[in-house]
Chain length 405, copies 2
DNA sequence: CAAGTTAGTTCGCGACTTAAAATTAGACTA
DNA sequence: TAGTCTAATTTTAAGTCGCGAACTAACTTG
């Protein structure tokens, strides 16, 4: 049982956070409207926003007339208050992107590399962060978020387990710090979760509070959002949808088990099933393979059948999420998910309906993701922003007179 | 976005709730210790507990010496402050039980009936409540909780969907009220969730914050507890584990789909699979059938094989929960779950390990439930208690001067 | 330019938590 | 049996916070 007191000061923090978050997500708003939407009194809104403006977190943004009265002054989060950095550690290289607080991309770099060696990855992240942050004052960087393929164990310091990369218990957070990123909040998170977060903030998940973002690519994963925030479970490795058993005793999966969803609807699984049907494939990477397969479906009976089966497996997998999580919306993303979804949306939805219980199914809508896999970096960059909105940037300067003592 | 203000009054409610909950769960404690555990100052603890004592919610319970100083006065929740009622609507009848605030059973009645007719069930609930509450003052009943087999849609008034009972959109809450239970908080909830809640408060889930209670009986369900409270999803029908697909294209399930977990490990499914293997069964109900099957496993190769397969399916199903929810503990319950678990615990755990990812698996422990299926009623009775702890019983009498106006 | 409107501020109040000082309530001592 | 000690509570005084009411600011209208 963690100590759970509530002091009068938490009130202010909470209300600061509420107002700041509302300004961030609902665009420019007047104080009046803030009061109406949050339920806070005009007095409090005035008081708190005054503080936020004084702290530089919020700025005025013009005003709009209101028939016959004093015009409202619009407020919005100050995009120049600071910057955040998002890092996408992929299977072929890393991307580092710098955003201002308006989430406008300011700079970006990309380095190809094999991520087999964690040390090299950490050094490359540190180098990328330095490159990208070169143009802005150091103190302006509010935090760095890193999205990695694999499960992340959140603790005093984040530990990464990524079977596909051969990482087993890599203390990535410490390594990145050691490589030169210190004095700045560092958040390491599973890439599927950061991508899901991006869909929630800027994509198909906006406005909903209970969402499952299902991601299908080479790997298969999901980000589960409940009550508006990403579900993490006890050690934050929740949402490992890809290695959920969907065909007991079925195809072998690279995770060592059998019958996993990923073995059927992951890019690998799809192509392997196609080849087993007798259709040989030339070389090329997975992505072009899947694209070719989808194109072939127009003429090839075998290709069409494989894809229809895939839609069936995928629908059943989605149905499991519907039954277990009862979300109000399912967002299907990931490069393979989007490719399949565009061509076989009806089939996937139909399979979902068949395999889920009527009641939760009726409560859910299914949509395609709007962001594509590039979203991992933006999503990672939202992590420090979320922390900022949550803490609402510590009220007042940190201990200004402590120096004297 | 729901209005989200925080007023200074919420503080007091929050702290009342924290202190009352701590007294409820952690037995008698002194004010001093309350302060230490909650982080609240001694002054606040004294102030708030004074109010709680005055309101009759808390009473002193002796004192213990403290080497050489003023002895601490122990405080505990007043068991006599009020009573709560739990109702278990089962497939063969209903049970109604009355508890005091110490959760000691004070009275209980049981009525056999077929629950096919919702109206009759509602009337029987009302009658049972009246019977059981006959011995205590009306105003002493703090609330009634009802556990039903089927999904419950929480809204202005609870609606029940229970395919096995033939209920489709039954407004049970309204019906029970119409049948005579009014003026008292009424909570209707899925029986699996109430049973899970009981395991959390009094059984194998105590002390953990992320738990999945897996229940296997005639039906198969789960109660997912995250951050200490039952996960409900968007419309509170989350946790429908039983109709999750585990063998794509497999056995037909009574839900209309195929390959559901319930079709393999539900009592029905187990017995049906045994019969298909050629072993004929006499009559008898499911429970004695499963018991007989387990006894037969000692001598019959076929019976043993069916049960081992069952353990495999069940382990895979549990592994899916491990992968998706990343709980710190799994509690296996339900009458069939307990029967299987006692005899085949090793096999179930082994299958779980095989089908789950190593990392989340290592974070989880698997335990048998401690309460048995009788727990549905106690669990239902915890619902009004939870509401009480949460609101901390409205500070001060409800609008004492509103009468005058 | 006066009247009418709507937005935002200021002021004083009541409710809260807290730190510090004061007050118990036994145990121990001489 | 009065005096001394120690540790648990209760009081007291101070500082925060959000709220409602009264007040001020900034336009539009006729």
């Amino acid at each position: 049982m963690p100590p759970k007191r509530t002091t009068v000061r938490d009130l202010r923090r909470q209300n600061r956070s509420t107002l700041l978050s509302m300004l961030f997500f609902e665009g420019p708003l007047s104080r009046h409207e803030l009061g109406a939407r949050t339920g806070l009194s005009a007095a409090t809104v005035s008081n708190v926003t005054g503080e936020l403006v004084e702290d530089g977190l919020v700025v005025e943004a013009g005003s709009v007339g209101s028939d016959g009265g004093r015009p409202r002054v619009l407020l919005r989060v100050n995009p120049g208050f600071g910057h955040v950095i998002g890092v996408d550690v992929g299977e072929t290289g890393i991307k580092v992107e710098l955003f201002d607080l308006g989430m406008t991309q300011v700079a970006a770099v990309e380095h190809a590399m094999s991520p087999a060696d964690p040390g090299a990855v950490a050094r490359l992240i540190a180098a990328g962060v330095a490159e990208v942050a070169a143009g802005v004052p150091v103190s302006s960087v509010l935090g760095v978020g890193v999205g990695v393929p694999g499960t992340v164990e959140q603790g005093a310091s984040a530990i990464v387990h990524a079977r596909t990369l051969g990482w087993d218990g890599v203390p990535l957070e410490e390594m990145v710090r050691a490589a030169g990123v210190f004095g700045v909040p560092l958040h390491v998170e599973n890439g599927a979760k950061t991508q899901g977060q991006a869909e929630m903030w800027f994509g198909a998940g906006r406005g909903a509070r209970h969402v499952v973002v299902a991601l299908v690519g080479s790997g298969v994963g999901a980000a589960v959002v409940t009550e508006g925030s990403v579900y993490r479970g006890a050690t934050s490795s929740a949402g490992e949808w890809g290695h959920t058993t969907i065909v007991y005793g079925g195809r072998a999966c690279r995770c060592g088990s059998s019958g996993c969803l990923e073995a059927y609807v992951g890019a690998d699984g799809i192509l392997a099933r196609y080849q087993e049907v007798g259709a040989a494939f030339g070389g090329g990477d997975e992505q072009s393979g899947v694209d070719a397969l989808i194109r072939a479906a127009g003429s090839s009976e075998a290709a069409a059948r494989v894809l229809e089966e895939t839609a069936g497996y995928l629908g059943a997998g989605i149905a499991n999420l519907v039954n277990l999580f009862n979300p109000e919306r399912i967002v299907l993303g990931g490069w393979a998910g989007l490719a399949l979804g565009e061509r076989y949306f009806e089939e996937i939805v139909a399979a979902t309906r068949v395999h889920s219980l009527r009641h939760p199914y009726e409560q859910t809508s299914i949509a395609l993701g709007q962001l594509g896999p590039d979203a991992v970096a933006v999503g990672a960059a939202t992590l420090p922003v979320a922390a900022l909105l949550d803490r609402a940037a510590d009220p007042r300067k940190p201990s200004s007179h402590a120096d004297i003592a």
